[in-house]
């Protein structure tokens, strides 16, 4: 019997190759290629006055130097704005090489191509650029102030103002028994994949064909973008994503300037050209995220039920908006989490600053939204003196209310409608896992030992698996080998395993016979990309549908050959056999031979197939009118809307009473992404996400000075947590299937990182007795907050109650009205 593959925690097929050095990343290729390097702006905001390259020409090994004025036609036009939106009234994108103005430190101005990267950097050092300095706009407060402008034709630095409202918020707040206001601040961070970006381009002069390798999250996107920029027919451009060492969002934006310039140079020079981003370049010329100021006003009743939620936030989108306003839209919609907010209004402004541009980073606006909502929940609990889990539970959307339509538009422009989820069950599991109700006793014991501990919680809902579509193609060779391809890319998610599990399950073949290819436009030209926790949902379901097609065809051919009815057949371990009479059988390899009338007996499968050769009816064509040769199947999956996963996290932290150092003692995760294809891979995704979340909560920030210099553009000063900083992560799962797709799955890629900042802030607030409103937080910041708290500048929190209270037995709230 074929053991059930779907849902099995099997080890990843790709790992032996990847961990033994068999990976083939961008910089592992093209060793004979010419190398590109860039002169990048050292100023955050300046006009380019002059570029002097005379000193550079004498460097031996130089091939060429290009500035904007050398770029012909569309190559010299601004890069595309990928996702326009009606509210993005002032979208701006950069040129591949800056034309006359630079808007962030790191913006590319000159491209140098030389024999190797060393020489290219020597040349860059000899190029002199004269600048006329302009006033830099750094930080959201300065951007909002609007007295200095990033783009002189964008008043107030406002790229976009967007407002969504459900219900009458002003009336509901006026009528609410209680109101609270919060001001919150969340810093910048970034994806920081282990492998930066990189592009290798080969131009075949004889054929007029371009082959691009890019460390990208979307090879179909890069292919189409480059074909358009270089005026090439799509048929003459291929793009392949080799092994990619992490993406986390930054490689979904495209085309990056280098993705246009390197192929352009390769065609111009008729030579292979490569650019491999170094770490400093990644810091200052790729993309960042997070970065919002938020103002929240909430009205609620005696039970802590929210009657109205009024959110305003200001989002730092950096110098340009090539990826539109996806991030703040997600914040504004996913902020709601598992709750029914009553009336809801969210207004945001997406603002230009003279800093690296902002595009989605794992979580993509959700950590900010979760921070806003969960800080609000804690504030309500504190104000009413109700347990924090109780306040949340009273606001939950209940399972019987699913599907639940919030009445808002989600990032894909479709209704924000939750498909399924059991939030009370998740909460019950979380409380059991972390020992919520026992914490008071634990704290008492810790305090007796002179230790300071706190418990925090955060809940989120994540829209995953956004469309429009993905496809799957499956072909079974005469050997029985199953080739699977899908167009989206892989950056370490384990697709070679999880997609193979789906195929093994659907077809009834050993997983070892299944080979998955991703991100190669030669194999699957129609695809979107790997982002938004969408690969398993989109390609997983497309591949399952394709497998079902292949299976049906295999059964039809085998039924003919075996002279039985297809309904009586099953496929076990790659063998088609009669149910209950397994002696009557043929292998899928043999079926594959029979599916192709071109029957040269190259192999044993073909020889074996001759015994099944039927009569050649001279009145019928070898391939029937409604059939195709080959044992192949293809299908696409295109959902009407996203599917919504959810999770709840809790953490216990300890803060040093003297040094204010913060240690996470326990980190607990309840995660619900519907049916799991491979729980081990899901767990790995959650662990990685939490690790990045811990980075965002306690370590990472982009430290810009007032002139727009990024002061910590290296791994020495940008503090990603090491393994030693990431706590042990305890996980438990709930599997609430999605009713929306054949496999009942939801995305899991971003889940782990979404609530971590909120959870850690909640736990530190609990430990310290005052509210944390700005994240990330470092020991020195906590130490300074303690001093302000001691001076009375920050109000104390009442000790939170950790005993469970049911609705109706809530303690009487304090008399005074909150501000």
């Amino acid at each position: 019997m074929t053991t059930s593959m779907f849902g099995a925690p099997i080890q990843r097929k790709e790992d032996p190759r990847l961990v033994t050095g068999g990976g083939r990343y961008l910089d592992d290729m093209g060793h004979r290629a010419l190398a590109a390097a860039f002169v990048r702006s050292p100023h955050a905001h300046a006009r380019i006055v002059d570029i002097d390259v005379t000193d550079a020409f004498e460097v031996d090994g130089l091939v060429g130097i290009w500035t904007h004025e050398d770029l012909p036609g569309k190559v010299g036009e601004p890069l595309p704005l990928l996702i326009p939106h009606p509210t993005l009234t002032h979208g701006r994108t950069q040129f591949a090489l800056a034309r006359d103005e630079v808007n962030y430190v790191g913006e590319a101005i000159v491209m140098v191509v030389a024999r190797d990267r060393y020489i290219a950097e020597d040349v860059c050092q000899r190029i002199r650029v004269d600048y006329e300095l302009l006033t830099p706009v750094v930080g959201i407060a300065n951007a909002r102030d609007g007295s200095a402008l990033v783009h002189e034709d964008v008043p107030g630095n406002v790229a976009c103002r967007m407002l969504q409202e459900v219900g009458d918020v002003d009336a509901a707040i006026a009528a609410a028994p209680h109101t609270l206001e919060l001001e919150l601040d969340i810093e910048r961070s970034a994806c920081m994949p282990m492998e930066g970006k990189g592009v290798l381009a080969r131009w075949d002069t004889d054929k007029g064909e371009l082959r691009i390798f890019s460390s990208t999250q979307t090879s179909t996107g890069v292919r189409a973008a480059v074909a358009a920029k270089l005026d090439l027919p799509l048929a003459k451009v291929e793009c392949i994503a080799p092994d990619v060492g992490g993406g986390f969002g930054v490689k979904i934006n495209h085309p990056w300037p280098e993705e246009v310039l390197i192929p352009w140079a390769a065609r111009l020079l008729e030579q292979e050209v490569k650019w491999t981003e170094d770490r400093r370049e990644h810091f200052i010329s790729s993309a960042h995220e997070r970065g919002q100021l938020q103002e929240i006003k909430v009205g609620f009743d005696e039970q802590g039920r929210i009657l109205a939620l009024d959110v305003k936030f200001w989002h730092d989108n950096g110098a340009y908006t090539p990826y539109g306003i996806i991030v703040p839209i997600i914040t504004s919609t996913q902020l709601l989490g598992p709750y029914k907010p009553g009336a809801y209004r969210c207004e945001f402004w997406s603002l230009y600053t003279n800093t690296v541009l902002v595009t989605p980073y794992r979580g993509a606006g959700r950590p900010q939204g979760c921070f806003a909502m969960e800080r609000t929940m804690d504030a309500i609990a504190e104000y009413l003196g109700i347990d924090r889990t109780e306040v949340r539970s009273r606001n939950f959307i209940l399972p019987e209310e699913m599907p639940y339509d919030h009445g808002l538009l989600f990032q894909d422009g479709r209704p924000l409608k939750y498909d399924s989820g059991d939030f009370p069950a998740s909460m019950a599991k979380l409380k059991a896992l972390v020992g919520w109700d026992d914490f008071a006793a634990y704290r008492e014991q810790a305090e007796a030992e002179g230790r300071r501990v706190g418990l925090g919680i955060g809940c989120y809902v994540e829209g995953t698996g956004v469309g429009p579509y993905e496809g799957g193609h499956i072909q079974i060779e005469t050997s029985g080998r199953v080739n699977v391809s899908t167009g989206l890319t892989s950056q370490g998610q384990g697709h070679e395993t999880s997609f193979a599990q789906i195929v093994a399950q659907e077809l009834g073949v050993p997983i070892g016979d299944v080979f998955v290819t991703t991100g190669d436009t030669r194999r699957m030209p129609y695809a979107v990309g790997t982002f938004a926790s969408r690969a398993a949902v989109m390609s997983g379901n497309a591949i399952a549908l394709a497998a079902r097609n292949v299976r049906a065809k295999a059964l039809r051919i085998a039924a003919d050959a075996l002279e039985v009815s297809a309904e009586d057949l099953e496929i076990v371990d790659g063998i088609v056999q009669v149910k209950g009479a397994p002696g009557t059988r043929m292998s899928l390899g043999t079926v594959s031979v029979m599916s192709n009338p071109l029957r040269y007996a190259f192999d044993d499968a073909a020889k074996a197939a001759t015994q099944f050769a039927g009569s050649n009816d001279p009145n019928k064509p070898p391939v029937a009118d409604d059939d195709e040769p080959g044992l192949e199947g293809k299908d696409f999956y295109s959902p009407t809307q996203a599917t919504f996963a959810n999770g709840m996290h809790a953490a216990i932290v300890e803060t040093d009473p003297v040094t204010a150092e913060i240690r996470v003692l326990r980190y607990c995760v309840i995660h619900d992404c519907g049916n799991m294809i491979n729980p081990m891979i899901v767990e790995g995704q959650v662990h990685g996400g939490v690790a990045q979340g811990v980075g965002g909560a306690l370590y990472e920030r982009m430290v810009y000075d007032e002139s727009g210099q990024l002061l910590n553009a290296s791994f020495m000063d940008f503090l990603m947590p090491y393994a030693s900083e990431v706590p042990h992560i305890e996980t438990d799962h709930l599997e609430t299937p999605s009713p929306l797709n054949p496999l009942g799955i939801k995305g899991a890629g971003e889940a782990g990182c979404i609530p971590v900042t909120a959870v850690i802030a909640s736990a530190i607030s609990d430990a310290e007795g005052f509210a944390i409103t700005s994240m990330p937080i470092s020991p020195v910041e906590l130490w300074e907050l303690r001093q302000r708290h001691a001076r009375g500048e920050i109000p104390s929190l009442a000790r939170p109650r950790h005993t469970s209270t049911s609705p109706g037995s809530a303690p009487v709230p304090p008399v005074q009205e909150a501000r």
């Binding site: 430290v703 503090l719 900083e725």
Partner: protein, 300 residues
């Protein structure tokens, strides 16, 4: 992130190495473990025309322990010294500090002498040389000399080594019998440069504190030691208030703020770590006496 062109010299002897240094002078830079130098070159923060790579030089890779000193050659990797049991027995402080030097892979390559010659006051080993009142052995084409630690560190990343000189070894002086030591630091992440670090050496005699000294990481311009004996001398280590040196510590340090920690926070850390390390060093001193009594016991 590729270095500018340079000439790579790979001498096989100290004589050859210093001959090259004499020739290239200020244009030369010595390469040992490269854990600080190579990133600086890659980021083009420095572009020396000549690199004098001493990794092939014979006779520089030994740790030797005498009754009074632990001598460490210029090619001794941090990890080699860290795992050197004889050195640990003679001067436990070295291992106590070395486990805090970055990460194992960096310690496998980086050298203790290189770290001291780099003279970064955020490095652990310069502070160890200061606390042990150690000596740097320098050789040039024309002369050899010993430089006492007090004369060696001159400023941030500055030493009294001349461009023609090669630091061939350092000698850490062993403490008097019955001395306990301790090293602690606080970094944002495990293995990062410390926001502050403190090393302490405390000697007790007849159950009373006889000698107490500190040295600091990341909170002074140059590594140096601070004698705090006067605060604690004659007191019983079990009952002493180890925070009593706070004023002396404050007076001795000049921390600077950066993006990871303010000057005030670093000062607070230095004071707190002084308290903790002094207490731990004293406990170790008392324990050392106990061990000595126990081992002498049967023979007596």
């Amino acid at each position: 992130m590729k270095p500018a062109p340079f000439v790579h010299h790979a001498p096989r002897s100290v004589a050859d190495a210093v001959a090259v240094l004499a020739e290239v002078g200020h244009d030369g830079k010595v390469l040992a473990g490269g854990q600080s130098l190579i990133p600086i070159l890659n980021m083009r923060l420095a572009s020396p025309a000549h690199l004098v790579d001493i990794n092939q030089v014979a006779g520089l890779a030994d740790v030797t322990v005498s009754d009074t000193e632990v001598r460490v050659g210029a090619l001794v990797r941090h990890a080699q010294l860290e795992h050197h049991d004889e050195a640990y027995a003679a001067l436990p402080l070295l291992r106590q500090a070395l486990v805090n030097v970055a990460h194992p892979v960096i310690r496998n390559r980086g050298t203790t002498v290189g770290s001291i010659a780099h003279a970064d006051a955020a490095g652990e080993m310069p502070a160890m040389l200061a606390l042990t009142d150690g000596v740097v052995e320098a050789v040039s084409a024309s002369a050899s000399r010993e430089i006492a630690v007090a004369d060696f560190f001159e400023g941030a990343l500055e030493t009294s080594l001349t461009p023609e000189e090669l630091a061939v070894a350092v000698r850490f002086r062993r403490f008097a019998a019955g001395t306990g030591t301790s090293f602690m630091e606080r970094a944002r992440r495990h293995g990062d440069y410390a926001m502050a670090g403190v090393a302490a050496a405390v000697r007790t005699s007849d159950g009373l504190i006889a000698d107490a000294r500190l040295s600091f990481v990341s909170v002074t311009d140059v590594p140096r030691s601070l004698d705090v004996t006067e605060v604690f001398a004659g007191q019983e280590p079990e009952s002493v208030d180890w925070s009593a040196a706070a004023d002396l510590v404050h007076a001795a340090i000049e921390p600077e703020g950066d993006i990871h920690a303010t000057a005030e926070y670093r000062a607070m850390l230095a004071v707190e770590l002084a308290r903790l390390t002094l207490a731990q060093a004293a406990r170790r001193s008392v324990a050392a006496h106990q061990v000595a009594r126990d081992t002498e016991g049967p023979a007596a």
